[in-house]
Symmetry: C2
Subunit: 424 residues, 2 copies
């Protein structure tokens, strides 16, 4: 837990999809790692706390990246002309095999952890590879950044190069248990998450093993769902008895309900799958850039949002090439506009306000009371200097936040806190 | 014309849509503002010239922005939830009215010119506003940057606030002539371009006047075409005798043929319009980000390219929010993938190589032999330090260029030249 302190600046946060609050030159108080509130005048009781005045910089909640692959960071922005299944075969799997080699893995994960630390993200749910040792190294590296993360050793036992298939379901389960034993009690803000890669790479036997591990260890789950049409068809062939793709996880208790679950993409989920996700409280990780880069399509995010499903944003590194969830907010809006124009004129585009909500409080909710500045929320905050976006106009705080989301790469992050800890 | 000199580094350029050349640790020679060639070993005849060794940085042709609005730079990233016609009414027109005030215009245009100078663009075709004085100021500011630009005083006489309608067609034409007289001979690399805003804002009478001015002054033309479906319908109502939108320009000789023309967007052009553009040698300015932001749609760029139409990229500031044409390259690829997946599976996505061609040699061709490093091309070059995109891997020059396009905001431009002049 961090110290007690106060930041002063132009503060903005969401309380719900349609409710964005702003306070110009306000005070935000951190007490024992939690937000004690945002104030236009500082209450008497806090007057003894140290104050950092940002000089009118923007202060917003830390961002949550609900879905990304740490080992793929090495080849972001390469193989850009392929679709999902070809891209997996030609780029992803050969690269992930390299994480058997700890000298490569440590070099790659050090860069990844450092860059994630320097991004506006404070919370992330991360895929590693099947390799236990490299996964533990990644967790060490992330722990040192001060970020709050879930990290998963990946499980796979089919439809991938032999080196990634872990010698079958039993061996995969055994190695996963060993990983969980190894890291027990070792980290204070880096937690394990069960990570079956996706149905095509996990046999029923492996899923059955993972179901047991989930129960024994009371773990959350992360996986992929209905990203690409060929993948959806493939799952139908692989598990014809499943009612829909998500049901193939649900049959093993790996689809929320008993414990939290994140399903990445959900581009092609039908109404049954959507209904089941709602029933089970599944978090959807919407990854708009990846869904463009891999020609997957455009998820009906506005529908998920208005139906009350749980939603966050994901960079899906390296399906996406950018760690910034500000950029994902803009892209979520942009692709929703194309979907509205080209696919379904009954489904209105996302607003920027909604995208800001999804990237902060929406995704943050996977971690509990995270992603807002309401009283009692974790003190996750980023301080952004937006003076690089020069203009001849005078702007409201709200307009400045809108511009920061649209042109985040032109802003400088000058400070970042997670649970009150200063990270950058 | 610049001096004679040599740059050394990792060099990449297009010679055609499918032909990207790379030379690692090569030499590129500038002679009298033109490229004398790229060499793996320096020919004897150039051995006396001064050499700048970039230490393995990437050297690529300067980028061309075929379509952007300088006055809109002030409100980029605002009003993000509107479509074209509402956005024009609520944001664009009120903002453009302010350029009557020279103290505001000079402040705004100074920022714009400075930021364009610091972008990877060396060539741009720029809309100003209807205001003569502010347009001349903008031309002065751009001239000082060293960039090569076409700048247009906008013409409008209907369907806009009174203050922007110039007091009718005759007054608009008179002011345009006065502008052309005023700037005659004043600039060495800042040229005028005739700029009817778009058909809805220009009466037949005004178009007729502009046709005369075009002939008298032998000017190129820039305008908008088939951006948004409501706009296309509106043009049908306004000029029912036109065979299609573009024909409304062509009837006045403002659609290529007699002189060069740029038409921005062409999202909804039908086969007839496409055929006419090909016949007339019209340059299409493809503006993928703007077409997302304003929910316009996705232009069939691959079809234009394979049909031999002339194509460049545009930022369409402030329909788009980013000046970088590297970013436009990535977005052109991304939206073409969505179009392929969601609209027309017979039209393959653009490759990154094609997008690089369009953003360099494609758009550059509007300026003549520009946008490549073939012998005799203008020496327009940007030097990019890509070490900010850290990775554990060793990469080819081609892979590094691919990554630079995908993550250009993580690279640093360390030098820029236009016609051999050092700009940055």
């Amino acid at each position: 837990m961090g110290d007690n302190f106060i930041l002063r600046g132009d503060i903005c946060w969401s309380t719900g999809p349609d409710t964005m609050e702003t306070v110009r030159n306000g005070w935000i108080v951190c007490e024992e790692g939690k937000c004690a509130g945002v104030f236009t005048r500082l209450p008497e009781q806090y007057k003894g706390l140290p104050v950092t005045d940002t000089g009118g910089q923007l202060i917003v909640p830390g961002l949550t990246d609900l879905h990304l692959h740490a080992p793929q960071y090495t080849f972001r922005g390469m193989g850009t002309d392929l679709e999902l299944l070809d891209w997996l075969e030609n780029h992803t799997f050969p690269e992930e095999e390299r994480y058997e080699d700890m000298s490569y893995a440590s070099k790659a994960y050090d860069i990844f952890a450092q860059d994630l630390k320097n991004s506006p993200t404070t919370r992330a749910c991360v895929f590693a590879t099947v390799h236990r040792e490299a996964t533990e190294y990644l967790m060490e590296a992330l722990e040192q950044t001060g970020l709050c993360t879930y990290v998963g050793k990946v499980n796979m036992d089919r439809n991938a190069p032999k080196a990634l298939c872990e010698g079958g379901a039993a061996a995969s389960a055994k190695e996963t248990r060993r990983w969980l034993e190894d890291i027990r009690g070792r980290f204070s803000h880096t937690r394990p998450i069960l990570t079956p890669r996706f149905v095509p790479a996990c046999s029923d036997e492996l899923m059955g093993e993972l179901a047991k591990i989930r129960e024994e260890w009371n773990l959350p789950v992360q996986s992929h769902l209905s990203e690409n049409q060929s993948e959806v068809e493939w799952v139908k062939e692989l598990m014809p008895e499943a009612e829909f793709y998500g049901d193939a996880y649900d049959r093993f208790g790996l689809f929320g309900g008993a414990g939290p679950a994140i399903m990445a993409h959900c581009v092609w989920s039908d109404d049954r799958e959507m209904g089941r996700m709602k029933d089970r409280g599944v978090h959807i990780a919407h990854c708009p850039q990846s869904n463009m880069n891999l020609s997957s399509g455009i998820a009906p995010v506005k529908k998920y949002l208005s139906s009350g499903l749980r939603l966050g944003l994901g960079s899906d590194m390296a399906g996406g090439y950018h760690l910034s969830i500000f950029r994902a907010m803009l892209e979520a809006v942009q692709v929703s506009k194309l979907r509205w124009r080209l696919v379904d004129q009954d489904l209105a585009p996302l607003t920027l306000k909604e995208a800001f909500y999804i990237g902060t409080k929406g995704g943050g909710s996977f971690f509990g009371k995270v992603g807002s500045f309401e009283k009692g929320y974790a003190f996750d905050a980023v301080v952004m200097d937006d003076r690089g976006i020069r203009t001849a106009r005078d702007l409201s705080v709200k307009a400045r936040v809108e511009r920061m989301i649209c042109m985040s790469e032109q802003c400088t992050m000058t400070a970042k806190y997670a649970e009150g800890r200063r990270i950058c």
